[in-house]
Symmetry: C2
Subunit: 355 residues, 2 copies
DNA sequence: CGTAATCATGGTAGCGTTACCAGATCGTGA
DNA sequence: TCACGATCTGGTAACGCTACCATGATTACG
């Protein structure tokens, strides 16, 4: 059963309290056209002559007008609702996801429904709880990794945006970063620091991000003509504990790495723990880097060098996308959208100490 | 400068798409009164004869009517806006705070504005960015710890709810948990496990929560007739690193503790790192507990035994409170509101090993 | 040059609610 | 019994916007 909150969201402009706000009629007068024309400019944007359109747009700008979403939704009989699924209210990501979604949803005059999905939900149960009144769906990882969820949304016919899930089919979209390239960049950074024996801790191989990050690592090494040591590529589960275990194994090897690249920050933090358990220091004895820039990256000490994902931008983009798709269902659009990531250089990586 | 997003929130009921929804006029007909009376019942609740009121309420229930917030806000010319300040979009807490606030804000037909406050903001700058169109303010920790912020909101006259800040004056309110009692409970739990040498890592003494938690610890020991060893009470900064350092110091002492109670989870996680650096195991060699149940508590291994704060409930309550205060400015209300906390027993604490 | 088709725009009528004022009902005292 | 205030209730007109249909302006073609 889905737990939670049905919410609607509008932006209403911060007009000075009490003072009457600028309406579409004011704009119409100022531009010398009828209110209807203004309304059309603001919505259809199509059948209005471009000269008129410009005039109106100029007036809108001059008067600093912004439409009253309440009136808009009242007149057009209902608002489009977008549902964001999430797994855990205390998830580190949720805050950023919501901030982005809220902002966009306000700007576009949509409503946001935020729904909790228990991590052990079955596809059948999820299906039962999908509400046909929703106009769109945003599904972030790790829910997007649920077996069969892509088929489900396809069958139900929901315009859907997956976050960081990779492959999408049918009418669904995906928004993420270029995990492959980001991982390659990180690998190259490590190499540029002087590391040659670099270990990689992979996430669960059924997550597309895991494999993308691994191949980025692979190719990063290959491009720099650094030999890939199979011993140094191990599998984790994207959890702290698995990272710790993997780190321990890596460090106990006969020829341990000088740097460890973990497939996400939780595992990198686990590696940090493993290193200190071995009586070693990060980054002096071994460099450790992660991926995601989750809150743990700047909590642990030393702070993790990692790849930052623009989560707020992702949901913002997702909402914008859904809004367009809902307005023009037939519209042809790119299925996969890549946003900019960035390499956060912090304190957990440095050049290897000469032996 | 405040960064971010102006948002409004309404609930609109999930009426079956397309089907006309039940309006206040339907209710009026059903109850045999005029629409105005229904409206009054739903708002004023005062000058309507109680017999009529009941009739209307019955019809509302019978028809499963719920008001259209868009129409409501349009007719009454504007919606009350509540602003939630936050420090960091990737803060672990933000998600939960938002979930609670969103739910309540929707239910009460208010708008939510979510505003980022850079951590290094000065009071003057914050003041400049306060928007007079806001009707209420929610200020969670750690922003609530800003020097002079309480005086500021008092002077500006904003109805304000602080989260977890403790003492409030004037028209402000505070919502939190009983830090003292929770800390005492945790201490008693540790004692019940058999621990006698228990260390406490305090947070910065200028945070009220720090001192409350410390005195809870103190009194917990005292009530059980366990002697307080001054050596075992050290100061941290609520950060991982400070917790790690404090843990190291504690463990290097001539007579180390069998359990360490950190004033928050970040510090407890730091202690975990310190313990493993000393080649010891948690909880076998030393028990470690925290406070807050932040995401890091269930990320690290072993999972931290800690005190859970109901963050979503806090913001939900805060919104409800503000809504009432705004409607009836004169209303006398409690200043401080305590919510239920809970002791999360996980894997980082166990009975001490006999020496 | 006239007529029909096309395009761009305007007018009107609501959407569901509340504000405001007028009217109805009631109880009370002369 | 009637007038008079107090209490309750109803009618009407917005709120700002969009749907819908009608109209005027333009072009195309015979």
């Amino acid at each position: 059963m889905l737990i939670n909150s049905l919410l609607g969201i509008f932006v209403t402009d911060k007009k000075e309290r009490g003072k009457p706000s600028i309406t579409l009629i004011d704009v119409a007068k100022h531009a010398g056209v009828s209110p209807m024309t203004v309304s059309r400019v603001l919505n259809n944007l199509s059948i209005v002559k471009s000269a008129t359109k410009e005039k109106v747009l100029a007036s809108v700008a001059a008067l600093d007008y912004s439409p009253n979403q309440a009136a808009r939704s009242l007149a057009s009989g209902g608002t489009t609702q977008i549902c964001l699924l999430y797994g855990n209210p205390s998830s580190a990501y949720l805050g950023e996801l919501l901030v982005g979604a809220l902002e966009a949803v306000g700007k576009h005059g949509l409503q946001l429904i935020v729904n909790r999905v228990p991590s052990d939900i079955s596809i059948e149960e999820l299906q039962k709880n999908l509400d046909s009144s929703w106009d769109g769906l945003i599904i972030p990882a790790p829910i997007s990794d649920l077996e069969g969820i892509r088929r489900l949304v396809e069958e139900e016919g929901f315009p859907t945006v997956f976050l960081e899930c990779g492959e999408v089919s049918g009418r669904a979209h995906d928004i993420g970063i270029d995990d492959y390239q980001a991982s390659k960049d990180m690998t190259e950074y490590l190499i540029s620091l002087g590391h040659r024996r670099i270990a990689f801790i992979q996430g669960p191989p059924n997550h597309r991000t895991s494999t993308m990050r691994l191949s980025g690592f692979h190719d990063g090494l290959a491009d720099a003509d650094v030999e890939v040591d199979k011993e140094l590529i191990v599998e984790g589960a994207f959890t702290y504990r698995s990272g710790m275990q993997a780190g321990l194994n890596l460090l106990e090897a006969s020829n341990p790495p000088t740097a460890i690249f973990a497939g996400n920050d939780d595992m990198a933090a686990g590696v940090l723990a493993a290193v200190s358990e071995k009586g070693l220091k990060v980054p002096k004895d071994v460099s450790v880097v992660g991926f995601d820039d989750s809150p743990i990256a700047t909590t642990v000490w030393p702070h993790l060098t990692t790849i930052r994902q623009p989560l707020a931008e992702m949901t913002e983009y997702a909402v914008r996308l859904l809004s367009e798709v809902i307005k023009e269902p037939g519209k042809q659009m790119k299925k996969t959208h890549l946003l900019e990531y960035s390499l956060q250089m912090r304190d957990s990586a440095c050049p290897p100490t000469k032996t």
